[in-house]
Amino acid sequence: MTQTKLVRIVTAGSVDDGKSTLIGRILHDSQALMTDQVDALSNARFSRAEKGDLDLSFVTDGLESEREQGITIDAAYRYFATPETSFIVIDAPGHEQYTRNMVTGASNADVAIVLVDASRLHQGALKVQTRRHATIAHLLGLKVVFAVNKMDLVNWSLKVFQEVEESLKRLSRSLGITNPAIVPINARSGDNVVTISPAAPWYQGASLLDVLQSQGEGTDLSDLPFRFPVQRVVRVDGHKLEAQRGYAGRVASGQVAVGEAVFVGPHRRPTKVSRIETYDQSLGRAEAGQSVTLYTEDEVDAARGDILTGPESSYANRVIADLCWLDDQAWDPRRRYLLQQGTAAITSRIESVLHIRDMRDLSEVRGGQALKLNDIALVQLHTQTPILADHFQDNPKTGAFILIDPETNQTAAAGMIRGVV
């Protein structure tokens, strides 16, 4: 089997700007739709397309209420491949009410296509939701590619495009996104989506799909420090004297070899790896992404929730983190939340809100004791026991966490560790 590059894409941007139509168009023009799926589109109820045309948003807007209301409610996953690249495309909703579903989709992607409707801007002013989605995508570490959509509605005007481009560049600067690609498209007809169209002779760049395919892969997770969240403890020959305990899990980052030292938990108890096993193999080494069982030379008493690390690691029980608040129930400062990092769930409290981002101008609003649905904030967290203090930007596997409301079990927030106190 040859190595193909995996690119996971999520759509982003305000409601109705054409995200689902774009995904439908990409799949359609890449011959990734099956005949029966196309047939189903042409007979679909609630289709917004003119006679003889397809409403391509229905490729991903598959729920009854989505079609009826003409909006996306939750993220859809589709899979397709070109000879060079295998794609997972995630079509996220633009409606503010469903921002948590966009965050869900974005957390499983590497690249965000942020769409803007070229016909609905006044002097290039971007919508709040465009800014919010670009901010979320950037905080979650995604690469951001902009598509200026519905260029047909502004007669492919270079002047309009340049206005939008200017606004997107300003937004990028304020977020710290460098040199973003900005592609003028018509998602409905496919201009500049998979192939370059003559409609905009002034556009010298690549088609959107080519831009997506040419994204660099970034950093190999195997090159980061070793991290291995223990999922379960395996007991082999439990009755005999030589009973052995192994630790089943997936290497989150880095690599480990038989004979190497690993450390358990905040006290960093050291031991050595004696064996690395899979179902049918003994391995000399395991690297990022592999699910294995590790056996150690000493009884180190590790359990589910512990993270085995290499020599580099630091723990803290006060961290600074970005939070996207996802729950309808606002933050209650008196309450505790379960912080899930890797396989650990640790009691925690939000001690203070350092700032909340105002989505109108992306300014940082200081202080306050309120944190509600869709807020993006920088907070200080206190955990009952020290947690691995990996910074999200250095290691997205262990730098990420969720907060769970222990009363309702809802996932209340997505978090990214940015520093220690």
């Binding site: 089997m1 190595q3 193909t4 995996l6 099956m34 005949t35 029966d36 799926q37 189903a40 679909a44 109820r45 490729v59 991903t60 598959g62 729920l63 009854e64 209420s65 409610i73 939750d74 993220a75 859809a76 996953y77 899979y79 295998s86 579903n101 869900t104 957390s107 499983n108 690249v111 570490g141 690469k143 660099g216 892969e217 970034g218 950093t219 190999d220 997770l221 195997s222 999922q231 379960r232 395996v234 007991r235 997936r250 899979t278 049918d280 990022a288 992404g289 592999q290 699910s291 899930q340 396989t343 930007q393 997205p396 990420a400 966490f401 969720i402 769970i404 079990n409 996932t411 997505a414």
Partner: protein
């Protein structure tokens, strides 16, 4: 800054599925693995062995049996469980009919939708709080929206308009009493991935996945199998055709496709060229209504 792992495609999918299986077992009190004998559940079971051997599986296998099975499938199911020494729980739609919780319009009516009732009864009877299933997002447009850890309320219902957020691979498997999870480790697999994995791992399947001669009648775009519960109607011409099944489900709604692909390699070659989706080519239950799958899932279906 973005990050990647250099695992090959199938290795990545395999490892992800093993990770999900282990999370599901660790985060539940009383899980079960849905095993029908179909190809996806055979792959899922194989991955469960990879996740938990040398220990016994931390869950029984569960089959919701409509009683309308194609020849060889229940035998395959039973032999597999026996060979592996794992516990198999079978819940029969027939028992739900006897209890009166399932009422069919006619004795030969499709029992496909009735499976949801029997499934929910089995969940209650055995106190299952998490069911592992082999469903894939590429199967259907409603499935394409579903979480890996799919939360179901006390009625077993999926609520697609308010799914729990699911961030990164941090699965939140917490429940209130009476609720349950359906967990789908194969969410990100396609039909082609399933077949290439079956080939690589030499996973055994029931024989009806491979080309064989079968009596069928033409029914619109489908070749409908002629069986005891789906006899030919008056005037329909019974033909013996070389066919194979792409999915194995209830006899009343699953059709084979014409194919002479007699081994996995030939099936992979055909799958690469196919212009029809798996369910589009084989399932009559989805033709009834645009949102057939979504509606079944809202009623508690897998």
């Amino acid at each position: 800054m973005t990050f990647f792992s250099r695992l090959l495609h199938l290795d990545r999918l395999e490892s992800e599925a093993i990770f999900i299986l282990r999370e599901a077992a660790a985060q539940s009190q009383n899980p079960a693995l849905l095993f029908s004998g179909g190809k996806d559940s055979a792959v899922l079971l194989h991955l469960a062995l990879k996740a938990f051997r040398p220990e016994k599986l931390p869950f029984p296998l569960l089959h919701i049996d409509t009683g309308h099975n194609f020849e060889g499938v229940t035998e395959f199911r039973d032999e597999t469980a026996t060979r592996l020494g794992e516990r198999l729980v079978v819940a029969h739609v027939q028992d739900s009919i006897a209890r009166g919780s399932v009422r069919l319009a006619s004795p030969l009516a499709s029992r496909n939708a009735a499976q949801a009732v029997t499934l929910l009864e089995a969940i209650e009877a055995h106190n299952f709080d998490l069911l592992l299933g082999g469903a894939r997002r590429d199967e259907d447009k409603a499935r394409a929206k579903e979480r890996v850890f799919s939360h179901r309320d006390a009625f077993g219902a999926w609520n697609p308009k308010s799914q729990r957020p699911e961030l990164w691979d941090l699965y939140n498997g917490r429940l209130q009493a009476g609720e349950n999870f359906r967990v789908f480790p194969l969410s990100n697999w396609t039909e082609l991935d399933i077949w290439t994995y079956i080939e690589r791992e030499k996973i055994a399947l029931p024989s009806l996945y491979f080309a064989h001669v079968r009596p069928v009648v033409r029914d619109g775009e489908f070749w409908r199998p002629v069986t005891a519960v789906t006899p030919a109607a008056a005037g329909q011409v019974i033909e013996n055709r070389v066919v194979r099944f792409r999915t194995v489900g209830d006899m009343t709604c699953t059709c084979p496709i014409e194919s002479d692909a007699a081994d996995v390699a030939a099936i992979i070659a055909e799958t690469r060229l196919s212009t029809l989706s798996e369910r589009g080519a084989t399932r009559m239950d989805d033709k009834v209504n645009e949102a057939a799958m979504e509606r079944r899932k809202r009623e508690g279906y897998f």
